[in-house]
Amino acid sequence: MTILKKQNVSKLLDELRREYKVFYPTRDEEGVISFSNVGDVVLDYSNSTVPPKDLFLPQTETTFEFEKGAEFKLRPKVHIVKRIVLGIRPCDVHSLILLDKVFSGDFLDPYYLQRRKNTSLIAINCTEPEKNCFCSFLETGPSLKEGADIVLTDLGDLYSVETLTEKGKELVDNKSRFFEEVSLEQEIARKRKAEITKTIDLKEIAERLEKSFESPYWDKVSKKCLNCAICTYLCPTCYCFDAVDESLDFKGQRIRCWDSCMFPSYSRMAGGINPRATKKDRLMQRVYHKFKYFDDRYGNFACVGCGRCVAACPVNLDITKIVSEVRGD
């Protein structure tokens, strides 16, 4: 099998940086983990505070610039840079597979798809999940079988390296001096198996949700929600965006930025009518969209079990609890 010694990681990183813009997990002074292309690489992390989705769907981006004048100009701004994301977790890789479904289809989204096409993923399997991780229930982890180009597994002082795509194979071949071929069958046995302790009951969830549109359960459970956007902004599968114009005089840009179904303004129409006017409507939309509507449309739950929304909610709203508890009666 192919291995990568831990002491070679930073050398490999330096080498990759010559050809690619490389993003990897970093930890700041306050302990927040996010993907960045500067700072020290941190691979012994459980999961990043912010998912790497912003590398593909940035929180804000300019879709085009416009210039009014004698001649009216529109300039689209699609970024094409070769990139590598190193150290992405299996759940987050799966979130990208879900986002791919949204941003392709009858209409192709060039902004997202260009980034996807030009980015290689070097994932890292989970050996020490967080207490809020429940990926095993959604079959998105803790080990990765598809979606990345290369998968690493922590085996103590080295990583085992599996290539899942042609692109991944090429990458390893091109940088072969950083990798070693060894027979390490006994090491595989040493592989720590990730223990997922959190549970979610997904049994008949579609039917249960179908039957509980009118359930008083929602009034109860939504009362403490603050309608902030933590759960949606930290969710690796939430993709909703807003588009607005920013301009001064004759020049300006159309930007798109994340939006959240938790905000009242998300569904409020000009003129003031809001089809989802209450906290309850908004929380229901989030849960139904993740565990029913998205499944009806794309054939998957829009949840990868990363547990970020559970961990970060300031009032302890727990989607696993809601999904497990909700009943039609």
Binding site: P58, Q59, T60, E61, T62, H79, V81, Q253
Partner: protein, 142 residues
């Protein structure tokens, strides 16, 4: 070319704006660095006005209104005095030097005082240099 300091002045309609006018018609020389925005009263000033000015490229902000006790609306400037005191300290705490945000009381007859304030402030801002940090950047690194 050295960048000239840019000052946004929020001037009360009933006093400082007229004071600025008087400085003009009396041909008192003062630096052209101040762009005046007339407000009906310093009490009208929302903290956002000041923040937005810095964000849009101002190096300094001047708020000028009627002397305490002389407000056209009785007490607008008295309220402003409290708010601006808090604002000034807050901005300083956030890294905007106190000298970049000035509050002055200038009556309609004080053309000379107005010119003096602008001159002083311009000189001070020249020494401090441009305030680039707060200006809106339009592109996050990709």
């Amino acid at each position: 070319m050295k960048e000239e300091p840019r000052i946004i002045g929020f001037l009360c309609n009933w006093c400082s704006y007229a004071g600025a006018d008087l400085a003009g018609i009396s041909r008192i020389k003062y630096p052209p660095n101040l762009k005046a925005i007339r407000v009906m009263c310093t009490g009208r000033l929302n903290p956002l006005f000041v923040l937005k000015s810095f964000q849009m490229g101002a190096d300094g902000v001047l708020v000028a209104g009627c002397h305490p006790g002389d407000c056209h609306y009785t007490s607008g400037n008295m309220h402003a005095r409290r708010r601006m005191a808090v604002m000034r300290r807050l901005l300083d705490y956030m890294g905007i030097d106190k000298r970049r945000f000035r509050v002055e009381w200038v009556s309609a007859s004080e053309g000379t005082k107005f010119a003096g304030v602008v001159e002083e402030m311009t000189d001070e801002l020249k020494k401090l240099g441009p305030l680039k940090a707060w200006r809106a950047k339009n592109e996050k690194n990709e």
